[in-house]
Amino acid sequence: MTAPEPQFDELYRDIIVDHYRRPRNHGSLAAPTQQAEGVNPVCGDEVRMDVSIHNSVIDEIAFDGQGCAISQSSASMLTERVQGHSIGETKEVIGKFRAMMVDGAAPDSALGDLVALEGVAQLPVRVKCALLAWNVLQEALQQAASAAGKEPA
C-alpha cells in the first residue's frame, strides 16, 4: 500500500484517538454555575458543557455531545486543560488555541496536549469541528461575566 500524504498522517495522532475513545470529564455536573451548548449545523457535531466557576476559577467542567473525533477530542482536551484554572488564564488558552487553528500561529507549549490538533488547521473544512467546544466554553464564560454584572472581556 502506498503511504498517505504526510498531512493526513499527522492529523489523527494517538492522543486525539485516545481522547475520542475515552473522553475525559465526560457527562454533567451536579451543580453547574453555567451551562452552554453548541451545534455545527452542517455536520451535526454537538457539544454541551457544564461549568462550575467560583471566585473567577473554573473549579469543575464537564461535557458531553456527539460528533467526529476532532470535535469530541478537542472538547475532552479542553476540559483537562482549563479545569482548576482562572478565567484569565483560560482566556489566554482560548486565544492561543484560536491563533493556532485560525491564524496559522505556531503551537504554543501552553496548550499542552491540544497541540496535537495542529494538523487540523491545514484542513479548513474541519477547523470548525476543532473550534466547536471552544465556542461553547466562550459562551459559558460570557454567561458568567453577565451574571457577575461585568462586561465580557
Binding site: P4, C68, A69
Partner: protein
C-alpha cells in the same frame, strides 16, 4: 458491458492526482464528472453560436434556438415522454419541485388537504411542500420505510386517501439507494384522485425511465447528476397539465401580450421559462444525453448493478461496517451509505480523501431519513459509468486505513 477503461479516458478530471493518489471519484450522487464531449459542447456554443433565443431573427439566434429546443426533445426522449412541449427547463430538481408547489399547488390545495411524502425524501422534496402547507393549510403525511430501507407500501396504501391531493415520492433514494415502486404508488394515488410527482434526480441518470409506463403526473431531474453541466433542471408534466397551471416566475420570454392593465402568457412550456434561460448549459446537456444514450441506459444500469454489488460485497467484508439500505441489487441503485463502528463519517471522509478517494459524509440533505435510521450522519459512496473494481478496491483499502487509525481491536498500528 461497458468499456470502462475507454470511458475513463473521456473524463479529463479523472486523470489528476489528489493528495498524491489517483483521484477515485465516488461522490456521483452529489454530482457526476463531465466527459470531454460536454465540455467541448460548452466551448463550441460560446465560440460559434452564442445568442439569445426565441427572439431575434439573425442567424446565430436561430441556431441557438434550434439547439436549445433540440435538447428539449432529447430530455423528453430520455424519460420516455412523447411531447417535448411537456418539458420545462429550470435550474435544478429543487426548482422543478418548487415550480409545481407554486404553480400547481397554490391553486389546487386548501385547508386540510393532504400531501403524502416519504421519510426517505431529500430536503428538496420536503421543504417546498412545507412552505405550500404553510400558505394553504394543507397537511403533510409521511410514509415510513423498514430497517432494510424498503418503503412501507402498506402504510402508503393507508395514508393515500380521499383527502390526498398529491403524492410526491423519490424514485431512487440518494442515501439508501432504494428504488421505490413508483408505478404502484401512482396507481394508488390516481385511484384516490391525487396527482403524483416523482423526484427522479437519482434515477434519471442511472436507470431506463419511462414516465408514461410509470404513470406519474410530474417528473423532475437535473442534468448535472447525469454528466451534464450544473444549472439545468428538467420538469416534465403529463400532457395537458402545464396548460392548466398559473405561471411560476414572471418576466420576459414567458408572455404573449403585455398591457398596462395586465398580460397574457406565452404557450407552454415557455410560460414557465421567464427571462433568458441557461442556454449554454442546456445545449451542452444535449451532449450528456447523447453520451448516455450512445452507451444505452440498459447497459448503464447493468454496469452500475455489477459495480454496486461488488462494492456492497467488499464493504461487508470489512469488520464493523454496516450498510444502510437494501442489499438486493434489483431493488437499489449505486448510492451506498454505510457506517463504521469505530469512526465518525467525517473522520472517515477526511482519511479516505487522504488516499485520493472522494466520498460524501453527512446527512445528505435527508435529516428525516437520518432520524429514522437513528444516526446523525452516514458515509456514502456512489457509483457511475466510469467507476470500476479498482475504484472500489481503493475505497476498501482506504477504509482499512481508517480502521488502523480508529479500531480498538488490534487493527490500530502506529500511523
Amino acid at each position: 458491458m461497458l468499456d470502462v477503461a475507454h470511458i475513463k479516458q473521456d473524463f479529463p478530471i479523472l486523470t489528476q492526482q489528489v493528495n498524491g493518489h489517483r483521484l477515485v471519484y465516488l461522490d456521483n450522487a452529489a454530482t457526476t464528472q463531465k466527459p470531454r464531449q460536454v465540455i467541448d459542447a460548452l466551448v463550441q456554443y460560446y465560440e460559434t453560436t452564442n445568442a439569445n433565443i426565441h427572439r431575434g431573427i439573425h442567424t446565430l439566434a436561430v441556431r441557438a434556438t434550434d439547439q436549445y429546443e433540440a435538447v428539449r426533445a432529447r430530455s423528453a426522449g430520455h424519460i420516455g415522454a412523447s411531447n417535448p412541449q411537456d418539458i420545462v427547463f429550470t435550474r435544478n430538481t429543487t426548482e422543478s419541485i418548487n415550480l409545481v408547489a407554486r404553480a400547481w399547488g397554490d391553486a389546487n390545495l386548501g385547508e386540510g388537504d393532504e400531501i403524502v411524502l416519504s421519510l426517505m425524501e431529500h430536503h428538496s422534496n420536503i421543504v417546498p411542500w412545507q412552505l405550500l402547507a404553510r400558505r394553504t393549510g394543507a397537511v403533510l403525511r409521511f410514509v415510513d420505510f423498514d430497517d432494510n430501507g424498503v418503503l412501507d407500501i402498506d402504510q402508503a396504501r393507508q395514508l393515500i386517501g380521499s383527502r390526498t391531493k398529491l403524492v410526491s415520492i423519490v424514485h431512487m433514494s440518494n442515501v439508501l439507494g432504494t428504488i421505490n415502486p413508483v408505478a404502484e404508488i401512482a396507481e394508488m394515488a390516481h385511484a384516490a384522485g391525487a396527482l403524483v410527482l416523482v423526484d427522479g434526480a437519482q434515477s434519471a441518470p442511472h436507470l431506463p425511465v419511462d414516465v408514461e409506463a410509470m404513470g406519474c403526473d410530474f417528473f423532475a431531474f437535473s442534468a448535472h447528476k447525469m454528466l451534464g453541466p450544473t444549472g439545468v433542471g428538467v420538469l416534465w408534466a403529463r400532457p395537458g397539465l402545464l396548460e392548466t397551471m398559473e405561471p411560476f416566475l414572471g418576466g420576459g420570454e414567458m408572455i404573449s401580450i403585455v398591457k398596462p392593465e395586465g398580460s397574457t402568457w406565452a404557450d407552454v412550456p415557455h410560460k414557465f421559462e421567464a427571462g433568458t434561460p441557461n442556454i449554454a448549459d442546456v445545449i451542452a446537456s444535449g451532449a450528456a444525453f447523447d453520451y448516455l444514450h450512445d452507451l444505452g441506459m440498459d447497459a448503464v444500469r447493468e454496469h452500475e448493478k455489477a459495480i454496486t454489488a461488488y462494492a456492497i460485497d467488499s464493504l461487508q467484508r470489512i469488520p464493523g461496517v454496516a450498510i444502510h439500505g437494501p442489499l438486493d441489487i434489483e431493488r437499489r441503485g449505486g448510492a451506498v451509505s454505510f457506517s463504521m463502528d469505530c469512526a465518525h463519517p467525517h473522520d472517515i471522509s477526511t482519511i479516505v480523501d487522504g488516499h485520493g478517494v472522494a466520498i460524501r459524509a453527512g446527512h445528505h440533505c435527508a435529516q428525516l431519513l437520518m432520524r429514522r435510521l437513528g444516526v446523525p450522519a452516514t458515509s456514502r459512496a456512489s457509483f457511475a459509468i466510469y467507476n470500476d473494481r479498482d475504484d472500489v478496491d481503493a475505497l476498501v483499502e482506504a477504509l482499512q486505513h481508517v480502521r488502523r487509525v480508529f479500531a480498538d481491536d488490534g487493527a490500530r498500528t502506529a500511523v
